[in-house]
């Protein structure tokens, strides 16, 4: 009964000092809104990154094999070991269970491509015909390189939309002859635009030719820059990756203990890595959000501490009519709790709008987690009590004799 009556006294005090209460609520509300909005940004960014990576990797069912040890960055003929042979790709397709298909790739970046007086240096990819399906690319115009083109080492090319724009502008490129490293190729298709990769660079500045043609008639290299292995079951990729590793070590006659002369990217591992990168981002955002809450808590603490010094006479009076130190502590903690909870509630309401605005800006659907919202209101209440405990303790230590004399 006593605590109920004391809570009423606390509520009256909140109303009595309404301006201060509103400022305290605002402090907490800003903290909660920051928390919710940053949470939403983090979640949206995570979803967006996963989408971009899918854009690059195609589906998550391809294991990538590259030559060399731990190669970093984009591979190219000029920066890799000549360890990965065409026969390795054939062996993988032939000997490993669970493999749906194997694509071969030979690529270079420093090759000039010209059409009449236009000259550019796109990425030149020699690929097997199944590349299209593995990448999830679409041919917008004409057709892709075929198995027949590859077998016959045809000088045909399929170009990305950026290349088309640079070389042909309004002209139709189909049937036109471009020169790749001085060698003439006939354009037989144009790829649909893919947009940006995870690093933000365009994936459309690309020229694709049959991989055998690339190897024998253009680059004169007998090794691959990448083998892409599509597995039948995406959940099986880790096992397939291990099997490929064993097979290649055997084929390359590596002694036990020797380092691999290739490296394998398991999509499951990539996904795990991504989640980790994102959790770092999420942690930073969460850190900033907690700083916001901390700021709200400091506002509560500062204003309440000022309030306690202003209310010394009230505290002394309450003690003189029978309040003990615990009663005073309780009332001030209760006031902090109520103010912070209301602040949290208003903050949640404000952040509703904020999240919608941020989502609109990011051009992504709003992520609104009701549970997170309730949690942030609860967090606000906890922050209120924690940061209110210092001023409440100070209030409980007020000496009534001194307070009533002032």
């Amino acid at each position: 009964m006593k605590s109920i009556e004391q809570c009423k006294q606390g509520l009256r005090a909140i109303v009595r000092f309404r301006r201060r209460s509103v400022f305290m609520m605002a402090g907490i509300a800003i903290g909660v809104a920051t928390l919710s909005v940053l949470n939403s940004i983090g979640e949206n960014t995570r979803r967006d990154t996963v989408k971009r990576v899918k854009n690059m990797l195609g589906t998550f069912d391809t294991v990538m094999v590259r030559p060399g040890g731990k190669t970093r960055g984009m591979v190219s003929l000029s920066n890799v070991d000549p360890s990965l042979k065409f026969e390795d790709a054939a062996a993988i397709a032939r000997e490993i269970a669970g493999v749906k298909q194997v694509a071969r790739l030979q690529n270079a970046f420093d090759i000039d491509v010209t059409y009449r007086d236009q000259q550019i240096s796109p990425a030149v990819f020699g690929v097997s015909e199944n590349w299209l399906a593995l990448r999830g690319d679409e041919v917008e115009q004409g057709s892709f390189v075929s198995a027949e083109d590859d077998r016959r080492m045809m000088r045909v090319a399929v170009i990305g939309s950026d290349v088309r724009k640079s070389l042909f502008e309004q002209e139709s490129p189909i049937g036109k002859t471009i020169r790749i490293g001085g060698v003439p190729f006939e354009v037989k298709g144009v790829l649909a635009s893919r947009g940006a990769g995870p690093a933000g660079a365009s994936l459309d500045n690309i020229v694709i030719i049959p991989v055998t043609t690339a190897s024998r008639r253009l680059f004169n290299r007998d090794f691959l820059t990448m083998i892409i292995v599509q597995v039948k079951d995406p959940g099986d990729s880790t096992r397939v990756a291990a099997a490929i590793s064993r097979l290649l070590r055997e084929r390359h006659q590596l002694a036990p203990g020797a380092l691999d002369d290739f490296n394998i990217t398991d999509p499951q591992a990539v996904l795990a890595q991504l989640t980790k990168v994102n959790s770092t981002l999420a942690m930073i955002l969460r850190g900033v959000a907690f700083l916001g809450m901390f700021g709200g808590g400091v506002v509560i603490m500062a204003l309440m501490t000022l309030g306690v010094s202003e209310r010394r006479r009230e505290i002394g009076l309450r003690q003189s009519v029978g309040a003990n130190r615990g009663d005073i502590l309780f009332q001030f903690l209760f006031e902090a709790f109520v103010v912070a909870s209301f602040g949290g509630f208003f903050g949640a309401a404000v952040s509703w709008g904020g999240v919608e605005a941020v989502a609109a800006y990011q051009k992504l659907p709003a992520v609104f987690d009701r549970q997170a919202l309730l949690a942030s209101i609860a967090l606000a209440a906890i922050v209120g009590v924690v940061f209110g405990s210092y001023p409440a303790w100070k209030a409980s230590r007020v000496d009534p004799v001194a307070a009533l004399r002032s």
Partner: protein, 230 residues
Amino acid sequence: MILVENISKIHRRNDGAPVHALRNVSISISAGEFVTIRGASGSGKSSLLNILGCLDRPTGGSYRLAGEDVSSYSDRSLARIRNQKIGFVFQAFQLLPRTTAVENVEIPMVYSGGRVDRRRALRALERVGLGARARHFAAELSGGEQQRVAIARALINDPALVLADEPTGNLDFAASSEIMRIFKELHADGRTIVMVTHDESVAAHARRQILLSDGAVIADAAICAEERRR
């Protein structure tokens, strides 16, 4: 009612030097007495009243209030005594200004453990003649009215002992007379009243005067009826 034996109170100044606010004070006050405590400022009147009111503890000596030795009581027990047995009236009224008269009167009930009884608070205000002003904010009332609200608050839990620290010190003559009339009524009802005052004319209402100087009792005398009549 009150039995104080050899109490002393020593404050420490900021530089650590001791200040003797009370030195070996012994007083006995029976139930139903009306006693004033007089003395120059700094003589220890307020220190004594704070100890009698269980707001402060003596540095030495013993204090028995209504048979209980409260010198060794905890903060919690002293708070209960203040709530149940003592009513305070202060020179500066000590009302919450942006709170209505009746809500001010209710405050002691908050700490009594029961429900706050609005009707009882209104009756207490009626008794001091302020029934009509119950819903006014304390800050809107005159000084005399504020002190009457404070008296109603002091009486709400029906304490046996009423302690007043210069209750008329901030009031004009008319308001002072009204306040003193109320105190005499309280005395007539059988309550024990201890009042600190500077004012001889106020002190003259009491049956007994205690004179303090430099923390010690220098005179403690009943005032004969003849003297009081003058």
